[in-house]
C-alpha cells in the first residue's frame, strides 16, 4: 500500500508573490511563482542575479512571509494567518534544513555539537542528540572529524558537517543555497552525490539554488527563475 505522505508533494507553491515596499517604491521580487517538489527529489533552481532566487528561498525557509499565494509543506498550508513567530521558528527547526554557500557552522562548537544542536533545540536529550549527530556525520563520511573544531576542518568537511546539520532533525525539505560554490569540481560533484543519496535515503525534498555549471547537468528537474517568475525545465539528470 502506498504511503499517503509520499504521494503528497513535499513542497507545493502556487502563485507566490512577494512585494517589498509600497506605493511607487514597491518592488515585486516574486510575481506568481509555481513550484512542486516531491519527496526524495533534488531539483535545481537557477536564475541570474536579482531574479528573485534569494527571496524565494527566504519564503520557502519561512523567514519572510509572501505577499500572496499558496505555500504548502507536506500538505500543510504555511503562512495562512495562523502562524506565529514561535511556530515558524519550530517549523524551521524541525521541518526545514538549510545548507548555505558558506557552511556557517557555529565556530565555538565542534562538529558533533554543531549537528547535535538542532535536535537539542527540539528538546531531544543531549546523549540522544549526539548519537543522532554521529549517525549523520557517519552518513556524510566525516565521523572521524566528529570532535574537531570547525576551524580545523577543510572546506569540504565543513560543508559535509553543514549538510549533516541540515539533516539532523530529518526534515522533509532541505534548502541549499549555492552549496558547491566554494568547492572544486570534484568536491562539488561529491556534495551533489551526497545530496542525491540523502534525498533517496531520507525521502527528503532538496532544492539546490546554484550557478554552478558543473552540477546543473545532474538535476532531473530544473526551475529557472527570471524577473520573479519560474519556468520548469526537464534536466539532463546525468549520473554522477
Amino acid at each position: 500500500m502506498a504511503d499517503v505522505a509520499s504521494i503528497r508533494p513535499a513542497i507545493l507553491i502556487e502563485g507566490l508573490t512577494k512585494r517589498y515596499g509600497s506605493g511607487s517604491a514597491a518592488v515585486d521580487a516574486l510575481k506568481g511563482v509555481d513550484m512542486t517538489v516531491w519527496p526524495g527529489e533534488v531539483v535545481g533552481l537557477i536564475g541570474p542575479s536579482g531574479s528573485g532566487k534569494t527571496t524565494l528561498l527566504k519564503c520557502l525557509g519561512a523567514v519572510i512571509e509572501p505577499t500572496a499565494g499558496r505555500f504548502t509543506l507536506g500538505g500543510e498550508m504555511i503562512f495562512d494567518g495562523g502562524w506565529k513567530t514561535g511556530d515558524l521558528r519550530a517549523l524551521r527547526r524541525d521541518r526545514i534544513g538549510f545548507v548555505f554557500q558558506a557552511p556557517y557552522l557555529i565556530p565555538f562548537l565542534d562538529a558533533t555539537d554543531n549537528v547535535a544542536l538542532l535536535p537539542m533545540l527540539a528538546g531531544v536529550p543531549n546523549p540522544q542528540a549526539r548519537a543522532t549527530a554521529l549517525e549523520m556525520l557517519g552518513a556524510l563520511d566525516v565521523q572521524h572529524r566528529a570532535q574537531a573544531r570547525i576551524a580545523e576542518l577543510s572546506g569540504g568537511e565543513q560543508q559535509r558537517v553543514a549538510i549533516a546539520r541540515a539533516l539532523a532533525n530529518k526534515p522533509p525539505i532541505i534548502l541549499a543555497d549555492e552549496p558547491t560554490a566554494p568547492l572544486d569540481s570534484e568536491r562539488a560533484l561529491t556534495v551533489v552525490k551526497i545530496l542525491n543519496r540523502l534525498a533517496q535515503e531520507f525521502r527528503t525534498a532538496i532544492i539546490v539554488v546554484t550557478h554552478d555549471e558543473k552540477i546543473i547537468p545532474t538535476f532531473k528537474r530544473i526551475y529557472h527563475i527570471r524577473d520573479g517568475k519560474t519556468y520548469e525545465e526537464a534536466g539532463e539528470g546525468r549520473a554522477i
Binding site: 534569494t54 538549510f98 556557517y104
Partner: protein
C-alpha cells in the same frame, strides 16, 4: 542543551580573559577611588580614635584645633580637672610642618603632648614611649623613620625612640609625637634676628623701658620669647560621665568651646574634608558611569561580532531566550572576571598610594553586585541588537 555561552567563552578564551583583565583594571581603578574616599574619611577619624579623648576644649567660637586655629592657655587644664566628671586633662599642640631626615624633607603633623596624659600615641609597634622631657620623638611608621633615627625640627634634633602606626592627620600626613614643651617652642619660636629686633623695639619704647624700673622690660621680653599657649586641652571623663553635659559646662563657665568626640568627628568629616570628599565622590560617580558605558560597549561589540552566528542560530530555530541567555551569561562572566581582577589589582596597588586607601569589604560587596547589575543592564542593549538580527541574514541576498 549545550551551554552556548560556555562554549563561546572557551573558544575565545584568550581574548575573553584579556577583555576581562582590561575591564578588571578599570574596576580596580573604581574600587581604588572608593578606597581613597574611604581612606580620607578614615584618616579624619583615626586621630580621634587614637587619642581617645571624650571632650576637646578649644578657643572660644572656633572649630579648632584642626579646622580652624585655636589657642588656649596651657594652665587651663587645672581648672578643667576641677569640673565634675573629668578624670584626665592633657594639653596638646599640633603643627603641620616639613621636617628633615637624612637630607630628605617630609611633611608631618607634629603633635606635642604630655606623656601620661591624653594626646599621645595610642600604641607603639617598636621602641619605647617618650621618657625624657625634651628631644625625643615617637613617629608614625609611614614617615619611614626608624628607632634611633634623628630628625630635625626647626633648630633642634630629635631622636626617634618609638614607632606607632596609623596615626595620621586629617590630611593623611603621618604624625610625629614630641614633648609638649618642645612642640610649643617649635610652634612659637622666633628666629634670633626677630628676637633681637623685638628686644630693640621694646627697649626703645619708653612706656615699657621706664627709668628706674628695669624689671618691667625684662618681664615683657621674657613673655615674648616663651609660649604658654596650646591648641587644645583633651579630657577623658570618669566612667558614666556625660560628655555633652561636661562640654556644656565648659562652654558656660569657662568661656571656651568644648566638643564631644561626635562633634569633632562631624567637624573633621563634614567640614574639613567635605569639599575634597565631594570632589572624589563625584569623580567616583563619573568613573562608575564611564566603566558602565565601557562594559556596555564591550558586550555590545562582542555581540555584533557574532551577527552571522546569531542569524544562523535564529534561522535553525534557536529560541530568543537561548540567545539572550548566551549574551547575558557572557556579560556576567565578564563582570565576575573583571571584579576579581579589579579587587586583586586594587589590593595590590593600594599600599603604594601615599595616602591611606581603605578597601572595605562592604564596598567590595556592593561593587560586585553593582558590576553584575551593570553587566546585566549593558547586555540588554546587546540582547536587543541580537534579537533584531534577521535570520534571513544567514541566507544573504
Amino acid at each position: 542543551m549545550i551551554n552556548l555561552a560556555g562554549r563561546d567563552i572557551a573558544h575565545h578564551l584568550k581574548s575573553y580573559l584579556l577583555t576581562g583583565l582590561g575591564l578588571g583594571l578599570l574596576i580596580g581603578v573604581t574600587l581604588t577611588m572608593a578606597g581613597v574616599y574611604r581612606g580620607m574619611v578614615d584618616d579624619a577619624k583615626v586621630l580621634l580614635r587614637a587619642v581617645d579623648a571624650d571632650v576637646w576644649v578649644v578657643q572660644q567660637d572656633t572649630l579648632g584645633p584642626f579646622a580652624e586655629p585655636s589657642s588656649v592657655p596651657d594652665d587651663l587644664y587645672r581648672a578643667l580637672l576641677g569640673l565634675p566628671g573629668v578624670a584626665q586633662a592633657g594639653n596638646v599642640a599640633y603643627l603641620t610642618m616639613q621636617v628633615s631626615h637624612a637630607g630628605k624633607s617630609q611633611r608631618v603633623m607634629v603633635a606635642g603632648f604630655e606623656p601620661g596624659k591624653p594626646g599621645g600615641p595610642a600604641f607603639l609597634v617598636a621602641g619605647r614611649p617618650i621618657a625624657r622631657a625634651h628631644y625625643e620623638a615617637v613617629a608614625d611608621a609611614k614617615t619611614g623613620l626608624r628607632v634611633g633615627d634623628v630628625v630635625r625640627i626647626r633648630r633642634n634634633d630629635y631622636t626617634v625612640v618609638g614607632l606607632t602606626r596609623r596615626m595620621v592627620s586629617s590630611n593623611g600626613d603621618p604624625m610625629l609625637f614630641i614633648p609638649l614643651k618642645d612642640a610649643q617652642e617649635a610652634q612659637f619660636l622666633k628666629d634670633n634676628d626677630a628676637i633681637v629686633e623685638d628686644r630693640q623695639r621694646l627697649t626703645a619704647n619708653p612706656a615699657i623701658n621706664r627709668p628706674g624700673q628695669p624689671g618691667v622690660l625684662d618681664a615683657v621680653q621674657a613673655i615674648q620669647t616663651s609660649s604658654h599657649k596650646v591648641n587644645a586641652v583633651l579630657l577623658r571623663l570618669q566612667p558614666g560621665a556625660d560628655a555633652r553635659a561636661v562640654a556644656g559646662a565648659i562652654a558656660r563657665w569657662q568661656r571656651f568651646t568644648a566638643y564631644t568626640r561626635d562633634d569633632m568627628e562631624e567637624i573633621l568629616v563634614a567640614k574639613l574634608i567635605a569639599t575634597a570628599a565631594k570632589q572624589i565622590g563625584l569623580f567616583l560617580a563619573i568613573l562608575a558611569v564611564v566603566s558602565a558605558a565601557i562594559v556596555a560597549f564591550i558586550i555590545y561589540t562582542m555581540t555584533l561580532g557574532k551577527i552571522k552566528e546569531i542569524a544562523v542560530l535564529k534561522l535553525i530555530g534557536t529560541r530568543n531566550r537561548t540567545i539572550a541567555a548566551m549574551i547575558m551569561q557572557e556579560a556576567l562572566g565578564l563582570g565576575v572576571i573583571g571584579f576579581f581582577v579589579g579587587k586583586f589589582a586594587a589590593t595590590l596597588w593600594a599600599p603604594a598610594f601615599p595616602k591611606y586607601v581603605l578597601l572595605e569589604t562592604g564596598d567590595a560587596g556592593r561593587a560586585f553586585v553593582l558590576t553584575l547589575v551593570v553587566c546585566a543592564l549593558a547586555s540588554v542593549l546587546a540582547i536587543r541588537a541580537a534579537l533584531k538580527i534577521d535570520p534571513a541574514e544567514a541566507i544573504g541576498g
